[in-house]
């Protein structure tokens, strides 16, 4: 299997040249085969300890690793999903204002206390979830839980900091609007979700200027509470002590409203958007369409298809437009998911002069995969890749928390992680072809190009029809 592969590559181009550019001895000698290595070592997911509090708060603890640090993540079902159309980035402003002190601690005290444990409080606001995290030295597990509880449960949300934070958001907006990637992403999600919060990735100046302290307080009251919160603890820590600390600190939190469910109905038709950015040295491409979310049984086969098509360094699209053609540096495809929603997309920044040829090659690779199942050897390599990646992803504090949070958000069940690798290995070449046909439908693709319109209009002509 391996030998055939090597010979094919050589016949295709390398060997005729290699003789003239020998950098070392013996280039004409027959090629050696890489040693296969030993038998695989077993991988064990961390032993989880789960519990919940009467107010609905869920907790998952994952002790593992050798580094004496512990990460505590408070994941709240609050995000841009909860923003009305005229309040885009209110979730972000709320996240930032939460850090500005509590009923009993000033913002400076919060920062100093976290620093004394070797960490800081970081807040990440996503579409579905806001995460309030801290990663500290192991011995401070219970103390950081108490500090996080105060920040999440009793934020001051002070009016005095609102003007400054709004100014920060205006600056963020201004900068993102000059970044081709941010512009392309905005156009792409807007095309897919024109009337849904998932379709609004950039705010506007009037919206940001309209925000008041009252807006933030209302948003916090409507979207924060124990019933929509899951705490994850990963790393080296004393589980008994951390459990007591969580119980003590979070038991008094109000239950709060249940998570808001608002599943989008994405646009499923061919769309082309050309965003003019005069003078661009590259065109930023987003080519994709609505797909499925992780609760769908096709999700793992779709992930396998994606890794083979464009989602890995060795994938077909990357091999084509980067390693053969040199059109781009970091093309990649991905399945991007939110609660009961997902899209597949290929993203690439390509040299302006080859905008059209790049689109053509991407479509060619999609077409090729739809027309014939991948060779088993190629697919086996991709399965091994995903199997290895699974171990790597579950070998860091943040990685473990991300995986657990993913399973919980999408309600995938306790056996999702333990059966994941097995399900990856069960995918057949025919299934990969089927996934490409079913979910990467060419006449439903949305194509967004941010680039120099004058220079790319002609190249784009075949796709504007």
């Amino acid at each position: 299997m391996r030998n055939i592969f090597v010979n094919l590559i050589c016949a295709a181009g390398l060997l005729p040249f290699a003789i003239s550019v020998v950098l070392a001895q013996n280039s004409a000698a027959p090629k050696q085969t890489p040693p296969a290595g030993g038998p695989p070592k077993p991988f064990h997911l961390p032993q989880l300890e789960k519990f919940s509090l009467p107010n609905g708060l869920q907790v998952t603890m994952a002790p593992f690793g050798s580094i004496p640090k512990v990460e505590v993540a408070v994941a709240v079902r609050s995000g841009s999903l909860n923003e009305p159309a005229n309040q885009v980035w209110l979730a972000e402003l709320t996240g930032r204002l939460i850090k500005e002190g509590t009923a009993s601690r000033s913002a400076e005290q919060v920062a100093q206390q976290a620093a004394s444990m070797g960490g800081s409080i970081t807040i990440g606001v996503g579409d579905d979830v806001t995460r309030i995290d801290s990663d500290v030295l192991s011995e401070f597990g219970p103390q950081i839980v108490a500090l996080l509880a105060d920040v999440v449960m009793h934020p001051l949300l002070p009016e005095s900091d609102v003007p400054r934070l709004k100014q920060d958001l205006l600056r963020k907006l201004s900068i993102e609007k000059t970044q081709p990637g941010a512009l392309a992403h905005e156009q792409f999600v807007h095309a897919l979700y024109p009337n849904h919060p998932y379709g609004r990735s950039l705010s506007t100046e009037p919206i940001i200027e309209s925000f008041t302290e009252a807006d933030v307080k209302r948003f916090y009251e409507s979207n924060f509470g124990a019933a929509r919160t899951h705490i994850y603890v990963a790393g080296k820590f004393d589980p008994a002590a951390v459990k007591v600390a969580i119980t003590n600190a979070f038991s008094d939190w109000k239950r709060g409203p249940d998570p808001q469910i608002d599943i989008p109905k994405p646009v499923a038709k061919k769309q082309v958007e050309l965003v003019d950015r005069p003078g661009s040295a590259q065109s930023t491409l987003y080519i994709g369409l609505a797909a499925i979310d992780p609760s769908n049984p096709d999700y793992i086969p779709l992930q396998v298809m994606n890794a083979l098509l464009g989602g890995s360094f060795g994938s077909r699209i990357t091999a084509n437009i980067r390693e053969q053609k040199g059109y781009t540096y970091s093309p990649r495809s991905q399945v991007s998911v939110r609660y009961r929603d997902g899209y597949w997309v290929e993203v690439a920044d390509v040299t302006t002069a080859v905008t059209g040829p790049s689109i053509k090659e991407i479509l060619y690779e999609i077409d090729r995969l739809q027309n014939e199942p991948p060779p088993s050897a190629e697919l086996d390599g991709i399965k091994n890749y995903l199997g290895g990646l699974f171990v790597i992803r579950n070998s860091s504090r943040d990685g473990v928390i991300n995986q657990l949070q993913f399973v919980d958000l999408h309600q995938l069940g306790d056996d999702y992680l333990s059966t994941y690798v097995q399900k990856v290995y069960a995918v057949t070449p025919q299934q990969v072809q089927e996934m490409a046909r079913k979910y990467v439908v060419p006449d439903k693709l949305t194509l967004v190009v941010v680039g120099d319109k004058e220079k790319i209009s002609d190249q784009m002509a075949p796709y504007l029809k």
Binding site: I9, K31, A115, V391
Partner: protein
Amino acid sequence: MRPLLCLLACVWIMPMTTFAAPPDKSPARFTVTVEYYKLPNGLRVVLSPDHSSPTVAIGVYYRIGFRIEPRDRTGFAHLFEHMMFQGSQNLGKMEMIRLVQQNGGLLNGSTRFDFTNYYEVMPANKLETMLWAEADRMKGLAITEENLTNQKGVVSNEVKVNVINTPYGGFPWLDMPQYANTNWFNAHNFYGELKDIDASTLPDVQHFFSTYYTPNNAALAIVGDFDPADAKAMITKYFSGIPSVPSPKQPDIAEPKQEKERTATKSDPLAKRPALAVSYHMPDRNTPEYYAMGLIDQILLQGDNSLLHDELVKKRGYTDSVDGGINLLGNMFNYQGPMLWTAYLFYDNTVKASDIVTAIESQIAPLRDKPVDQAVLDRALVKMRSSFYDSLGDFNGFGRADMLASFALFDDNPAQINDVEAQFHKVTPALIQKTVTEYLRPTNRTVLVVEPKSADTAGTKSSN
């Protein structure tokens, strides 16, 4: 060919714990297992088993950074890094990448000030596969004109996506060394001028490889779930036959002492808001002042309890974040030569650059005027320890391999990794004061301002 006499050069280095009394209660300590030896051909080998996950991180570090690339070939060290993925004796184009992937691993390479590295994170049972592959490309490359042309295209696109086609491209990581330094080796465009990248030839590739990619100019570090005896046998088998080649004399990369402030303005046609960076030349690596700078960085710049965050973000509202540190292309451990400590921020057109510099200096001056409170120093130590442990655990142990390979290449002493904490604990408030006085003086400073060509007015109103 050299005889296979590896084991005679082997040395066991037992980690010694000599930490000063920590300021906090019963902290868990982490000691890195370090075994260090050299093959007869000069290859430095560092083994650090850790069985907490069935993976291995493998790093091969060559002591050739972009600092010392040829003068008429800016960006060549980095272009060359790409060529190391384009084919060797037994692995053709794409085969290295696929070999790693289909064995369940991740790989990459990077070019830094003083080294170029190639690394993989793999399932532990694939260690031998990757040692074979790394040895194969250390033995020799098989590059075609076609592959070189292809990678010139890829690298040109890399420069475009990271520098040319984006606002603040190259700020401050690529720009600042060019303004703050005077010695060409430290002050040239190390991503490369597109014309230099384009002018590169196969003989350039060949010459660079045979000069710098030799076992005696390299270190191999392995961290993870493996048996050192097995690893040693594999390393002997695959690497010991690679002949050593005398290394060229290192050029003089010293940077003269800066006696006068430098300022520079860069006009950015893609930016709408200004940005500013300040840099100061660092004390020499491994000196007491160098460790003091590590803690000064924690006090002034790292985290939202830092003095600069407090002043520029909270009190003055100039920005939402002040970033930076020692060595923006790595960390304070993985370089060997002149280095900068840099702080930078993005702000609004309503704010004057000079006010920002004044505000930064207002936080540095008190550290110069009197010794810092012990409580402040203690907090900096805790933050440093926490961030140091993060580096040790980073990316399945690759962060640890990076540090071990750097200490092997630059100091011939990877066991130094277990002495780092003790060095920080030796820093006193008086040494902090002395270091700030000597190194964070305005005359040792370079200020770089990115000016938008078409600015948003008033900092709040934008037309697009």
